[in-house]
């Protein structure tokens, strides 16, 4: 895959996102492997940065065993968060800014130091100075939310928006925090933070590894979304979605009604 191809495919994905028009899976017409897909992702993010956007952190995907098996893969996937994706806690947003958005419950970590080499659990947790409940909006740029592993990696792992609640200091144990995502006040999905790789901190270890393998690293001040605890649900107009996490507090977002 040459530079011209990287430029073309990353542009296609960038335009799909900005114009809100889903495109055909890239992998149906082009041959590229997972490593090349991360190169396309890097180029895609660079287009945004060139427009004045800034990188705020990373997101992890396929952190639940079911999701990984469903996709037929056994590694996690890494995407990037940028400032233009940030939505405030409690904000009312127009769902029309997305193509076919879905929302999922997450845990966010904030890093107080950069992680520029592979680390173990104690080391990554030492680098965390805050934890918060978070919601992620995913919105595949591909038609019908259908993609191969390489496709989704190139498409920044479908990541489109994120809402983070208030960061607090790490509680003594974060391995089994109850997580309840409610729609219009009614509990919809329940899980424990154990659904994220048995301990959500393990997600940071893999994020460090995947970032280093693909030409970047996690920087002090950045945030990390550790992965969804339950399957994503369609984000529709007129919907109030909130997530409460035991000991951490809550976060919410509301979509405006259909016009």
């Amino acid at each position: 895959m040459n530079n011209l191809m990287i430029e073309q495919l990353s542009r296609n994905l960038d335009i799909a996102a900005t114009e809100r028009v889903a495109i055909t899976q890239l992998s149906l017409e082009h041959n590229f492997d997972e490593q090349q897909a991360y190169i396309i992702q890097n180029a895609l993010i660079q287009h945004r940065v060139d427009r004045g956007d800034s990188i705020t952190g990373v997101k992890m995907g396929f952190t639940s065993r079911e999701k990984a098996e469903q996709m037929g893969v056994f590694d996690r996937i890494l995407g990037r968060l940028t400032q233009s994706m940030a939505i405030n806690d409690g904000q009312v947003i127009d769902p029309g800014r997305f193509i076919h958005p879905r929302i999922e419950p997450e845990i966010a970590f904030r890093l107080s130091r950069s992680l520029t080499r592979n680390c173990d659990l104690s080391e990554v947790m030492m680098a965390v100075d805050g934890i918060a409940p978070a919601l992620e909006i995913i919105d595949s740029r591909y038609k019908n939310f259908k993609f191969s592993l390489a496709d989704v990696l190139a498409d920044n792992c479908s990541s489109s928006g994120y809402i983070i609640g208030q960061f607090i200091e790490l509680p003594a144990n974060i391995a089994n925090l109850g997580m309840v995502m409610s729609v219009n006040g009614v509990p919809h999905s329940c899980a424990s933070s154990a659904a994220i790789m048995g301990h959500p901190g393990r997600s940071i270890i893999d994020a460090v590894r995947l970032a280093l393998a693909n030409g970047h690293s996690l920087q002090a001040g950045q945030v990390l979304l550790a992965g969804a605890a339950t399957p994503a649900i369609p984000l529709e107009p007129g919907m109030h979605v909130s997530l409460e996490i035991e000991s951490l507090g809550s976060v919410s977002v509301t979509t405006s009604a259909a016009k």
Partner: protein, 267 residues
Amino acid sequence: MSDSFINETAVESAARKLYVATEQRKPCSPVRDELPELDLDAAYAVQEINTIKALESGRRLVGRKIGLTSKVVQAQLGVDQPDFGMLFADMAIADGEMISMDRVQQPKIEAEVAFILSRDLLMDEPTTADVISAIDYVLPALEIVGSRIKDWDINIVDTIADNASSGLFVLGNQKRSLADFDSRLCGMSMEVQGEVVSTGAGAACLGNPINAVTWLAREMALRNRHLRAGDIILSGALGPMVKVEAGQTYTARISGLGSVRASFSAV
């Protein structure tokens, strides 16, 4: 069959079929087609016949289990309410005690909060406050459910008639009070060999396990089998149930309540 059964009602016949399936450890066909369609009272009448039989044979009633407390499971069975079954002393297993695989038919396992009462709930329509006042302490629990109906081919009538598909239960050993944990947001994680196989939270059980106990207390008052001091109440699964595999140990952790284990024999 002897002539004495010729005049037995559909309810008695269903109860006998389930009793025989239990005694012979051999699953039977569903009972729903022999009973009035979706008649929950008829289903509970079947359960009650076998409860009386159990009590007459000397089994000791120690509590109740609440089932169908998750929205997902209710949707699967097309119902909008939970159900209950009877817990007998011989169904209680100690934390980590080896369980022979032949003790439950088609076993599945789920993690729950167990409530133990310090007083009788004899009033009509007990309230949440009545229930909370009556709770002595709380334990983490594993429920091993089973079905006497072949291949778990059940609807609501089948499972109610079959004592709410109850099997065995394991209680943890750390006595905690209601104030020690967040019954709505507590996390639940069940692991096998270090791998997480089910997770959930308190709210998965009717919004809060205490809601399930209140529902049960009211239902028991209506049916004249009031909850009593000392009763153990398994309030309902906090996460998806998992099929039991021989030779495995299932460890459940509930945030604030500690952990509990069920170990199964290799054969």
